[in-house]
């Protein structure tokens, strides 16, 4: 068992993970030595950048290997996905500076990223489960970490219970699948989709439900708004973007080469559609920015699951591109959010009133983010949505594509309402309002650059995915 491990492959294939682990260990050591606080962030940044760069480099080599047969494998596409998601973690780290002064944030975030890295590479449910848990568990702590208001505990609790229940559901599905097929490999899922065996079908339904729960698809979405609202800005940003993206990448890995067929396809058709419609409708009446983003993310989870209707080969690309496009602009919005003494104030949409007159840069960035989230061209959100719906139409689900697009139309209103608050409404600044911190603004600029690249050169980006 152990002798079959090729040391060089084990080193290279998991290089991004190794670098993250190195970062975690280094930060902990620095914390132990008592000189963490200030420099922990830089170490974590270095680790994330290095591991992202490593993933990109390996992807470009191109490198493919399965160092632990049947458990973990990488291909250039997977490495690209990892690199892209890790790169998205850089702004999250940067904007954490204003909220978290010590190293705990870095440690937890890096741990979560480690789990994220495992997901697209998982060949067996063992690794996938490990990845999902490693991804989610530090986030519970992160939600609680910046304890700004009593709701934080509540939101962490809700997230934990729902996510825990999702994990258990996932495991039950895995167990049944294992019982039916005798294999722990994720590949069996694809074949199981079309199976008519009652146990297998139950397993598939459970797995899908777990994914829907983790990705907050209606009707399993109730935790998302509460959790997002109670967490602090960098954590919400992380949850809304990277965590969701990672879950979707896990789903891509799960569906692997399988085209969606069989009796369960209705589940994949209807729930995402409902998610799109309900997410967009519910977002309209929100008074809190983070809740609004939560409902928007529920709708976006719907779009992302739409990608699974498309043909198998384009799926990874579609999901990854969407996740990157969606995350970049979300992070952009969060990065430039002005600071306020109280978290409630910082979070309230009313605080954005007339922001343009106080802080034109922030207002413009948030506006760009909102427009991109709404999927209006020329922002990257449009190209991403286009790709997904193109695949859906190509696969023959034209009716659902049209319904999905109409659903996305419903969302335009509330995104525009944010712009209306920013630009067209007079509002006084709260006395404690300040511009976002320097590092956060740097994160914003990074995201802006990313947004522009995605908007101007989507072809170039797609060619690499």
């Amino acid at each position: 068992m152990t002798s079959s491990v090729n040391a060089q492959d084990a080193l290279l294939a998991m290089l991004p993970e190794h670098l993250l682990l190195g970062g975690i260990v280094l930060v902990i050591i620095m914390e132990v030595l008592g000189r963490g606080s200030r420099s922990a962030l830089w170490v974590a940044l270095g680790a994330v950048i290095a591991s992202s760069a490593a993933a990109f480099w390996l992807s470009n080599v191109p490198y493919a290997a399965a160092p632990f047969a049947g458990q973990f494998s990488v291909t250039p596409a997977i490495l690209m996905a990892k690199g892209a998601l890790l790169a998205l973690a850089v702004p999250v780290l940067l904007m954490s500076r204003t909220e978290f002064s010590d190293g705990e944030f870095s440690i937890l975030l890096l741990s979560s990223l480690y789990g994220l890295c495992l997901l697209p590479s998982a060949d067996s449910f063992l690794v996938m489960f490990l990845g999902l848990e490693l991804l989610a568990m530090p986030v519970y702590a992160l939600v609680l970490l910046a304890f700004r208001r009593p709701q934080s505990a509540e939101s962490a609790f809700k997230y934990l219970v729902l996510s825990g229940a999702a994990s258990a559901t996932f495991l039950m599905g895995v167990s049944l699948l294992y019982g039916a097929t005798g294999s722990m490999g994720v590949d069996v899922f694809g074949a199981a989709l079309a199976s008519s065996d009652i146990m297998t079908r139950t397993a598939v339904v459970l797995l899908l439900l777990a994914l829907f729960l983790k990705a907050a698809v209606v009707p399993f979405h109730a935790w998302a708004p509460d959790t997002y609202e109670g967490a602090s800005i960098p954590v919400t940003a992380y949850m809304a973007t990277l965590t969701k993206g990672a879950v979707l990448l896990a789903a891509v890995r799960l569906f692997a080469g399988a085209n969606v067929t069989g009796p369960l396809v209705d589940l994949l058709l209807v729930l995402p559609l409902v998610s799109i419609v309900w997410g967009n409708l519910a977002a309209i009446k929100q008074q809190s920015f983070r809740r609004m983003i939560a409902y928007s993310s529920i709708a976006h989870a719907g779009y992302l699951f739409y990608a699974f209707l498309g043909d198998a080969e384009g799926r990874m690309q579609a999901v990854l591109f969407y996740v990157v496009a969606y995350s970049v602009v979300n992070l952009l919005a969060f990065a430039v959010m002005p600071q306020n003494d109280s978290d409630e104030q910082r979070d309230s949409l009313d605080a954005l009133k007339g922001l343009y007159h106080r802080n034109p840069f922030a207002a413009a960035m948030i506006a760009i983010a909102m427009l991109s989230l709404a999927g209006l061209p020329p922002f990257p959100g449009f190209a991403a949505k286009f790709l997904i719906f193109k695949n859906v139409v190509a696969a023959g689900y034209t009716t659902y594509a049209v319904l999905g697009l109409v659903g996305s139309y419903l969302g335009i209103y509330f995104y525009l309402r944010v712009i209306q608050l920013l630009f067209m409404t007079a509002g006084e600044a709260a006395p404690s309002e300040q511009r976002a911190g320097g590092m956060a603004r740097a994160a914003g600029v990074l995201c802006l650059v990313g947004t522009l690249v995605l908007a101007v050169l989507p072809g170039w980006v797609l060619g690499r995915m």
Binding site: F382, K390, G396, Y397, L405, V406, G459
Partner: protein
């Protein structure tokens, strides 16, 4: 497009100049507002000059695209950066470029807040409009088409009147709804083309080759038409327009009436009908009826408005009905008339909105009843007002006459043979459309009479603040528009020549059937 010559470069420059302008304005944003204005007017002027060069160099006899650039952009989707001039868009490009400096100059003093942002938005809008006209790739077109919304949203929403937020949201939501369906249709169209012919491309030229069964054509045309009809706007999808016009600042109204509304008719002409010719022909009676209803209904509504901006807004609905009528006639003369009418309406409506804006800046009200006898107070203003009113009515020698006359002529030319075949509808419609001209004369003259003559009334004026007549800036922009209006009215030949080939192309595209022999079932919905 074999070799890279000065021509394509020039078109690219015309397209991208506003973006350069945006950069410059942003750099100057911290300095003073005047600098922003100067930069943007300079950029617009240069753009207009270059567009004029393009117009002059445009070879009316050459088929195909001119000054074309094609660069691969999103290769995976068959999307390329493909722009070029042809008979369809040459006049509209010129119109857009011409209105650019006029808009900026028109807003010179009326926009006082957030001046740099305003100019950024105007420049972005200019870029998007220009892009939508010159794009020869459906994806690119859609991109520009949608991108127009955002600056317009802000222009109305930030610098508009009291109910600006309501109006601008209504505008965007209406327009976006059509666009979403159009997007679905675009995706379906390209996908089915790829499946039937194996070609993955968004280029118009390729898409004109698609073979689709009539049922599919109908649905797709429905989606496209909805989007375009909202933009035109055709009754009954017009309700956003009065609100948007009334609440928009003068510059916004000018752009909206001058260029943005042309997008819809341009879309019909360039995309809607040629892409789905069989469906277009099948639905001509319906569309034509709607066009005539637009003409008459718009005119009737204009007749009873008390808000001066609304009168012009409803007149736009009426005037664009002629464009649709001309396009649907499928007669060369009607098509050319439609193109001329587009340009003409762009000039005339722009002039009228500018005039209304100027009086609003002075008197701060748009109530028709509040005004009267302005001819005594503001002689120069009144002269210009009369000119544009008459052009709007369609007095011969003005551009309005050329456009409406040719469009109606097209309608009758098409109607007569049909009448002989026993189909009386076209003839009835054409006849009803003519009443639109009369109604147009009625509401415009009512407007002008109450406005300029009679008892002298003008709000917000006193001894300390006398009502000033037009400044040099205002005179010059109105003068420019007047020259253009007369030029197009007196010498339409040049413009007609440039568009003749395009009109023929359109005619042949729409009249050729493109249903496949054996309809391949693509994208069957489960």
């Amino acid at each position: 497009m074999s070799e890279f010559t000065m021509g394509p470069m020039l078109l690219n420059l015309v397209l991208w100049l506003p973006i350069i302008g945006v950069g410059l304005v942003l750099l100057a944003a911290r300095a003073n507002d005047g600098l922003s204005r100067t930069i943007s007017v300079a950029v617009m002027t240069v753009q207009f000059a270059l567009a004029t060069v393009l117009y002059l160099q445009f070879d009316a006899t050459a088929a195909g695209l001119q000054f074309a650039t094609q660069l691969p952009w999103i290769g995976q989707w068959g999307v390329s950066y493909l722009i070029g001039l042809d008979g369809f868009n040459i006049l509209l490009v010129l119109l857009t470029a011409f209105l650019g400096p006029i808009v900026v100059l028109g807003a010179w003093t009326s926009i006082k807040q957030d001046v740099p942002l305003f100019h950024v938005m105007v420049l972005l809008l200019q870029f998007a409009m220009m892009g939508a006209f010159v794009a020869q790739d459906l994806f690119l077109f859609y991109l520009f088409w949608e991108a127009m919304l955002i600056p317009m949203f802000l222009i109305i929403g930030m610098w508009g009147g009291a109910r600006r937020v309501y109006a601008t949201l209504k505008f965007v939501l209406y327009t976006a709804f059509g666009s979403i369906l159009m997007l679905a249709a675009v995706i379906y169209l390209v996908q089915s083309m790829q499946q039937s012919s194996g070609v993955l491309s968004f280029a118009f030229a390729d898409l004109y080759q698609t073979q689709l069964p009539l049922s599919v054509q109908t649905i797709l045309l429905g989606a496209f038409a909805l989007s375009f009809a909202i933009k035109v706007p055709m009754v009954p999808l017009h309700t956003w327009l009065p609100d948007a016009h009334v609440e928009a600042p003068t510059a916004g109204s000018v752009i909206l009436a001058g260029v943005l509304l042309k997008m819809g008719t341009y879309g019909f002409m360039k995309l809607g009908f040629p892409l789905f010719p069989d469906a277009a022909r099948a639905f001509t009676p319906l569309l034509m009826t709607l066009a005539v209803i637009s003409i008459v209904y718009g005119a009737c509504l204009a007749l009873v408005q008390t808000d001066i901006k609304k009168i012009i807004a409803y007149s736009s609905i009426s005037h664009l009905g002629y464009v649709m009528l001309g396009l649907l006639s499928l007669e060369l003369v009607g098509i050319q008339g439609a193109i001329i009418q587009m340009v003409s309406h762009g000039l005339v409506a722009a002039g009228l909105f500018l005039l209304v804006g100027m009086i609003y800046d002075r008197c701060h009200t748009r109530e028709l009843a509040a005004y009267g006898g302005l001819a005594r107070l503001l002689p120069v203003y009144s002269v210009f007002f009369m000119i544009f009113t008459l052009a709007s009515v369609g007095l011969p020698t003005t551009s309005g006459f050329t456009g409406e006359f040719l469009a109606l002529m097209g309608a009758f030319t098409a109607a007569w043979p049909a009448h002989l075949d026993g189909n009386n509808l076209p003839l009835v419609l054409a006849s009803v459309a003519v009443t639109g001209v009369v109604l147009g004369a009625m509401y415009m003259l009512r407007f002008a009479l109450t406005f300029l003559f009679g008892e002298v009334k003008a709000p917000h004026q006193s001894a300390e603040h006398p009502l000033l007549d037009l400044s040099l800036r205002e005179k010059s922009i109105l003068g420019l528009l007047t020259i253009a209006v007369f030029a197009l009215g007196l010498f339409p030949d040049g413009a007609l020549q440039k568009t003749e080939l395009a009109a023929k192309t359109y005619q042949s595209l729409v009249t050729t059937s493109r249903t496949p022999a054996a309809s391949p079932m693509v994208g069957v919905t489960p």
